[in-house]
Symmetry: none
Subunit: 221 residues, 4 copies
């Protein structure tokens, strides 16, 4: 009985703490996204989070530490979702399409998260050594892996550079999303998914004469 009470309290407490953290993180996300890191003030974040400035420092060590903590949850969720979907999809091309789709929709649905990543964190060297960056790095690794699998399966050309493909995908997404953010988010991001993936896929698939028109070499094998 005592145990259950304690464990309940424990849960309640840690839940409360997590809720508080979440509350601060959401406020910070909004303020950082709107003002940028330097122009954002702890005072404003605290106000928005309905908490005292000092309390923020109970949960995060510094203003920058707070910034670095922001993307962890959303990025984790994004990459979990991605992993979940990828398991159900056959074919490297389709998997890439899914990834691009999920990235775009994640950014579209979380523009503050997108702004933090694209406009603030991406250029901060200290962020490179952070848990948040680790999450993102792991999530991005997928792409190169899928490309490699596509090459192995003959879906993509043998001389395809998986890291270049990844750079093209991520770079294009970043560029498009950044422009979208900077211009006040007028466009429909999702319209670009298909053209982008189609272009990429066509760019890296084996030459037609090798595959479609008799596919001599493959037959030969």
């Amino acid at each position: 009985m005592q145990n259950s009470k304690n464990s309940k309290e424990g849960m309640a407490n840690s839940k409360k703490i997590e809720a508080r953290k979440e509350q601060i993180l959401r406020a910070a996300e909004k303020v950082f996204a709107q003002k940028g890191f330097q122009d954002a003030t702890i005072a404003e974040i605290a106000k928005l989070a309905k908490i005292s400035e000092a309390s923020i420092y109970e949960y995060f060590t510094t203003k920058e530490g707070l910034l670095f903590a922001i993307p962890i949850a959303t990025a984790s969720k994004l990459f979990e979702t991605t992993d979940f979907h990828l398991k159900m999809i056959r074919g490297a091309a389709n998997q890439l399409r899914a990834i691009i789709y999920l990235f775009f929709s994640s950014y579209r649905d979380n523009p503050d998260f997108a702004a933090i990543i694209m406009l603030i964190l991406k250029h901060n060297k200290r962020f490179l050594e952070t848990e948040g960056h680790l999450v993102i790095r792991r999530g991005i690794k997928n792409i190169a892996t899928i490309v490699e699998q596509g090459i192995a399966a003959g879906e993509f050309k043998e001389d395809t550079n998986p890291y270049l493909v990844r750079a093209m995908i991520i770079g294009t997404i970043e560029h498009v999303v950044t422009a979208w953010l900077m211009t006040g988010k007028p466009d429909d991001l999702m319209e670009l998914v298909d053209p982008l993936i189609d272009t990429i896929i066509q760019g890296i698939k084996p030459r037609e004469e090798e595959t479609s028109c008799w596919s001599l070499r493959r037959v030969a094998k």
Copy 2:
């Protein structure tokens, strides 16, 4: 004599002024590239430029104005060079290749300029309404135009989206250069030129079966 002396002085002065400006800009470029905008101080720039802090304000209105003025010269030169070369090149694909080559080599040769663009200016909304940004915008327009010409010439697929292609090219370059800058510039950027352009070109050129394998459809037309 006095006149000529004066006019000489006038020339000398305006030259001197330009030289002074250039001196400040180079110092600012170095400092901003190294420290970022916020962490760079006017004091440090002034010191490096061997000029007083107050004097900087004789030539530039604000710290941000100084920042915004930095890329103008280098960007102008880059786009002039690009224009110059493009006139000598036939074929949209070859022209895109040239552009990518020139961009990469410009960034490689001017890493401070690259850092200012990639890590600082790209995310500054106020920069959008700036002469510097105008120069860059004009320079980038080329790409979409060339793609359009390529489509018109049958070099690229008819349903190619020129703006997406441009986004892919610019986005990939930015992503690669940013990574190169953030990781201490270890890689050889130029190695990526060919794979990148090859992939893009293959991604947007008309389908093989339409062109290589008897081009039935086109003939039918």
Copy 3:
């Protein structure tokens, strides 16, 4: 049974409380001595005392109150010891010697206590109106009293100023101990006891011609 248990508990409790206080005081003494008053934090004291910060405020009203309480026990013990020894000693000079000896050895054996007194409390005006200061004041009164008795007994010159003598003794001890603390406690404090007291005693004892060589004047009286 219950009663006895309760009273036992009562005893245990008050003992426990005293133990707790003592625990906090020792932690505070160490931290204050090491860091000084301002640089010491309640958090650090609490950590060292293995108690929560809030609990400290169950036993002491403020950080300064805690500071003021530190020397009471040690000072009381010192002055009790001193009183105890003085009863067994005849002659003002010997008594002064004993006092100086006991002071020095107390500081040597309790360098944290010494640091608190010499480097922190001695300069705090609010400490003047404190129980801790009262204890010290009482303990120091001895010296002047002994000097007065020495004068009355003809051991010391009639025109000796007891308060100056006290100031010389205390001042010298303070100066020496402070230097000892500030320089990392390298010297052997005790070596100074004899030279100090000898010099003082010779400085205040009646002139030789009055005492040793026929003591004319005294006889004349």
Copy 4:
């Protein structure tokens, strides 16, 4: 002509700067003396000096740096005065008397300086490695030297410990001045000069029976 103008300006400027520094130092001295280091604020010092807070940092690097600079001028003057007088005085005893007199009167006439030294700086370890402390150290060295000369001249006992004598003199002065400061400066410090020096001198001069009373013992030898 130009030269003289320039040098005049140079003088004017450096004079102005010195005046400004002096102005800040006087304000800081007063505020630090009244409130102590921690409770003093730059704001208050700036206000009293009729200067902006930021300007203080044009002349001093930190709050503590400002504190450390305060005693330099006064201490230098004190020790120069001391040196000046000592040259005109014969006899170690008289010289010690002069030193004690000059110390006391310096503290009496500059109670803020005295408070800074006695209540703040004396206990700051970082001050030990400071120009201000160097000045003081040099000034205090005198005392031991004079005692040594007194010993050599037969004025003082051969077994006199010059460092103990110095500690007694400085310690007593410090103790007395500190008490004077802490109690609101009611007493006349100067009354203590003669009794103090007389006691010290008698405490360290060769024994009377050897010198005054026909020196029987010595003769006996």
